[in-house]
C-alpha cells in the first residue's frame, strides 16, 4: 500500500509532463510515421496504404539530394563562420574591461530579433536596386552583386544573414568558457614565460573547447532545420536556396502531399538524429580529454 502511494505520488509529479510529451511529441511522431506509408493529402477524402512508395520517391527525387547537399553546405559555412567570428570577438572583448557590458549588449541584439523579421529587413538591405548595401557599393564605385536574385549569390546571402544573427550566440558561449578558465593557469604560464600563442594553444583553447563544442552542437542542429530565413528571402521553391525544411514545406503544404511530406520528415529526422549522435559522441570525447 505504501509502495503504491509512493508510485502514485511520483506519477503525480511526472504524469502531467509525461502526458504532454506523449500528446505533443510521441503521438505526432508515430502518426507521422504512419502517414508516411499512405497517400494522404492536405485536403481530400481519406487515404490508403501505399507501402514504401513514398520513401522510394524521396530517394529518387533529384530535389532531395540537392537539398541535402545545399543544407550541408549551409550548415558548414554558417556554423563555421559563426564559430570563428564569435570566438574571435569573445577574445577581443577581453581587452575591453570597462565598456564590455555595453558592447556585449549591443552585439547581442541581432540574436534577440525574430528570424522572419530579420529576413524581411535583409530583403530591403540587400535589394539589388535600392538596398543600402548596393547603394554604398555604388557610391564607392565597387561592383554590386545581385545578392537576392543572382543564383551565385542567393545562398551566400542567406548564410550572411544567419551569420549576422547567430554569431553573438557563439560569442556569448565563448565568453562564458573564457570566464571559467582559472586565472592561476595564466599566471603559471606567465611564470614559465610561455608565448601568447602557446598560452592560447595549450591553455585557452583546450579549456574552452567543451563550451565551443556544445555551442556548435546547438547551432548545428538548429542550422540543419534552416527554414525561416529562406522562406522570408526566397520562398520554398527556389532551386538555389531550397533546404531540407523548405523542401518539406513545399511538398506538404504547397503540393498538399501529406503522405510524401511525412516520408520526407521521417528521413530528415533520422538524418538529424544520426548526425547529432555522432557529434555528441565527439563532444563527449573532447570533454573526457579535457577532464
Amino acid at each position: 500500500m505504501e509502495r503504491s502511494r509512493g508510485g502514485l505520488g511520483r506519477f503525480a509529479f511526472v504524469g502531467p509532463t509525461l502526458v504532454l510529451l506523449i500528446a505533443f511529441n510521441l503521438f505526432p511522431l508515430l502518426y507521422n510515421v504512419v502517414l508516411s506509408f499512405t497517400n494522404a493529402e492536405l485536403v481530400g477524402d481519406g487515404w490508403k496504404w501505399i507501402g514504401g512508395r513514398n520513401y522510394e520517391r524521396v530517394f529518387t527525387d533529384a530535389r532531395f539530394g540537392a537539398a541535402v547537399r545545399r543544407t550541408a553546405w549551409f550548415v558548414f559555412c554558417a556554423v563555421g563562420l559563426e564559430l570563428g567570428i564569435g570566438f574571435a570577438t569573445a577574445l577581443a572583448l577581453q581587452a575591453f574591461t570597462r565598456v564590455r557590458a555595453v558592447l556585449v549588449t549591443a552585439l547581442l541584439i541581432p540574436m534577440m530579433l525574430s528570424p522572419a523579421v530579420m529576413g524581411l529587413f535583409w530583403n530591403l538591405i540587400l535589394n539589388g536596386n535600392h538596398g543600402i548595401t548596393n547603394q554604398t557599393l555604388d557610391a564607392l564605385s565597387l561592383p554590386q552583386p545581385q545578392w537576392l536574385t543572382d543564383r551565385e549569390w542567393k545562398l551566400f546571402s542567406v548564410i550572411l544573414i544567419d551569420v549576422w544573427m547567430w554569431t553573438p550566440f557563439l560569442m556569448l558561449i565563448s565568453m562564458a568558457g573564457l570566464a571559467a578558465i582559472p586565472k592561476t593557469l595564466y599566471e603559471a604560464a606567465e611564470v614559465d614565460r610561455a608565448s601568447r600563442w602557446t598560452v592560447f594553444r595549450r591553455v585557452t583553447l583546450p579549456l574552452v573547447a567543451p563550451y565551443l563544442g556544445l555551442a556548435v552542437l546547438l547551432r548545428f542542429t538548429d542550422a540543419l532545420k534552416q527554414f525561416d530565413l529562406v522562406m522570408a528571402t526566397q520562398g520554398p521553391n527556389d532551386t538555389s536556396t531550397q533546404t531540407l525544411s523548405t523542401l518539406l514545406y513545399q511538398v506538404t503544404f504547397r503540393d498538399g502531399k501529406v503522405g510524401l511530406g511525412s516520408a520526407y520528415a521521417c528521413v530528415i529526422l533520422v538524418l538529424v538524429i544520426a548526425l547529432a549522435t555522432v557529434f555528441t559522441r565527439y563532444l563527449e570525447t573532447i570533454q573526457r580529454r579535457t577532464a
Binding site: 536596386n129 521553391n237 498538399g256
Partner: protein, 434 residues
C-alpha cells in the same frame, strides 16, 4: 476602482460581445488576398448589408501566405470563410476535392450566363475548362498588359534618336521584336534608366506567368489542350525560341530583373526608371494615379502566333465546409454581385475589372479610363496555365526548369525535355494522363 476605469473596463468587456453578436440577417465572411480590389469589395459589401441586412466582412490575407492559409483551412472540417476568392489555378483542386460548391444548376437561375465573358467563364469559373460545370462566379477578371512611359515615347529628342538608330518611328510596340528594340533603346544603366520590367520571381509563380505571354505568342505551348500530353508539345523549337527571347528581354531590365515579383516589377516602373512594364491590369489604376498623363497603356505585343495575354483574376467560390444556411447567404451575395447595376459600381472601385460582357462592350467603359480599352482587347486573347488539382506540383517543376533554362544553368532544350517528362509523370500519378 475609479468610475472612469470601471466604465472603460465595462466598455472593453462589452465591445467584443457586441461585435460577436449575430447580425439580424446573418453575416458572411469572404477571404481574399490583401490588395486594393478587396477594399472595393468591402465597400460593396456595405451596400449589400444596407439592402439585405446581411453583414459582409472581407478578410484580407497577405498574398505570400494566402494559398497556404486557404488550403490549411480546407483541411479542417469547417472553414472560417463562406466565400473564397481563389486563384484561377486552384479551381481544379477546389472542384475535384469537393471543396467548392457546385454552382452549375443554381447560377443560371440568378444570372444570364451569356453575360459572363466566355474566357473568364472558361478559366475562372468552370472545371474542367469549358465543361459547363461552374464552381465559381467571376469576381475580379484580369489579364496581363503593358504600361509605358508616354512622356519618354513622345519626347522629340528620344524620337529622333530612335529613328536614327532603328530607321523607324518610336511607337508603342506592336510585336515582340519591336518591344525588344524599344527596351534596348531605353536600356541605359549608366543613367539609371532601364528598358523593361516583367514578373520573373522564383518564389511562387512569377517567372511562369511572365514567360507564358511570350510562350504562346511564339507558338509554343504548355501541353496539348485535349489530351494533356506534354511531350512533343512543350519541348519544341517554338518554346525554346520563346525561352531564348525571354532571356534576352530579362537582360534589358533593371538590376536583378531575373527574379522580380509582381510588387518589385511595379516598383521598378513606379520609381521612374523603367520604360515599359509588363504586369496585370489590376496594377494599372495605381500607376495612372501616380503618373497621370505621363503613362500610356496597351495590349501585349504579338509574336508569329499572334497576340496572347496570360489570364489573371479570381473567381468567387462557396466553401462546402460551412453550414447550408451560410451557403445560402453566400449565394445571395454572389447573385447580388453579378447584377449589372452592381457590376457598374464594381468597375468604379480601384482595379475592379468585370467579366460582364454588356459592360465590356460599351463605349462608355472604354472611355472611362485609359487602361480600359487595352483591357477589353486583352481579355479576348486570355489563356491560362494549368488549373488541374496537381497545379502546384506542375508549377513547382515549371519554375525550377524554366529558372534553370533562363539562368543558363541547363541548356534550354534539355530543360524543356526534363520539364515535359516530369510534368507527364505528375499527370500520370494524378490519373490525368494515361
Amino acid at each position: 476602482m475609479s468610475l472612469l476605469s470601471s466604465v472603460a473596463l465595462a466598455a472593453a468587456l462589452a465591445l467584443p460581445h457586441a461585435e460577436a453578436a449575430p447580425q439580424k440577417g446573418g453575416s458572411l465572411t469572404i477571404w481574399w488576398f490583401q490588395w486594393a480590389p478587396a477594399d472595393g469589395l468591402q465597400e460593396l459589401g456595405k451596400e449589400f448589408e444596407k439592402e439585405t441586412g446581411i453583414a459582409v466582412k472581407v478578410q484580407q490575407i497577405p498574398l505570400a501566405s494566402y494559398q497556404d492559409k486557404v488550403f490549411l483551412e480546407f483541411g479542417a472540417s469547417k472553414t472560417q470563410f463562406d466565400i473564397l476568392i481563389g486563384d484561377s489555378q486552384w479551381i481544379g483542386r477546389g472542384a475535384s476535392k469537393g471543396l467548392y460548391v457546385d454552382l452549375t444548376d443554381w447560377l443560371k437561375t440568378v444570372t444570364n450566363l451569356e453575360t459572363i465573358h466566355p474566357r473568364a467563364a472558361r478559366y475562372l469559373c468552370e472545371y474542367p475548362e469549358g465543361s459547363g460545370k461552374w464552381f465559381a462566379a467571376p469576381a475580379e477578371t484580369d489579364a496581363v498588359g503593358i504600361a509605358y512611359r508616354k512622356d519618354w515615347f513622345e519626347d522629340a529628342a528620344e524620337k529622333a534618336a530612335f529613328q536614327k538608330k532603328f530607321g523607324r518611328e518610336l511607337t508603342v510596340p506592336k510585336t515582340w521584336d519591336e518591344f525588344k528594340q524599344v527596351a534596348q533603346f531605353f536600356q541605359r544603366p549608366d543613367q539609371k534608366r532601364f528598358g523593361c520590367a516583367m514578373p520573373t520571381s522564383r518564389a511562387y509563380d512569377g517567372l511562369t506567368m511572365g514567360f507564358q505571354n511570350v510562350l504562346w505568342s511564339f507558338g509554343g505551348a504548355w501541353r496539348d489542350e485535349k489530351s494533356f500530353k506534354v511531350k512533343g508539345f512543350l519541348d519544341t523549337p517554338a518554346t525554346a525560341q520563346a525561352v531564348e527571347f525571354f532571356r534576352e528581354l530579362i537582360a534589358l531590365g533593371p538590376k536583378g530583373s531575373g527574379n522580380l515579383d509582381y510588387g518589385e516589377v511595379l516598383e521598378a516602373f513606379s520609381n521612374g526608371s523603367t520604360a515599359i512594364l509588363v504586369n496585370y491590369f489590376a496594377f494599372f489604376p495605381g500607376i495612372q494615379a501616380k503618373f497621370g498623363d505621363k503613362v500610356g497603356f496597351a495590349v501585349l505585343p504579338a509574336g508569329k502566333a499572334g497576340r496572347v495575354a496570360a489570364l489573371g483574376g479570381q473567381g468567387m467560390s462557396i466553401s462546402t465546409r460551412v453550414p447550408k444556411e451560410q451557403q445560402e447567404l453566400a449565394k445571395k451575395f454572389i447573385a447580388w454581385f453579378l447584377q449589372k447595376k452592381v457590376q457598374e459600381q464594381w468597375i468604379t472601385k480601384p482595379a475592379g475589372f468585370t467579366a460582364n460582357t454588356e459592360i465590356l462592350r460599351s463605349e462608355e467603359f472604354r472611355k472611362k479610363a485609359p487602361y480600359n480599352g487595352p483591357f477589353v482587347d486583352s481579355i479576348e486573347t486570355m489563356r491560362d496555365f494549368w488549373n488541374v488539382p496537381v497545379f502546384n506540383e506542375l508549377l513547382a517543376v515549371t519554375q525550377r526548369y524554366l529558372g534553370m533554362a533562363v539562368d543558363g544553368e541547363m541548356p534550354v532544350m534539355e530543360a524543356l525535355s526534363k520539364l515535359a517528362e516530369e510534368k507527364e509523370q505528375i499527370l500520370r500519378e494524378a490519373g490525368l494522363l494515361e
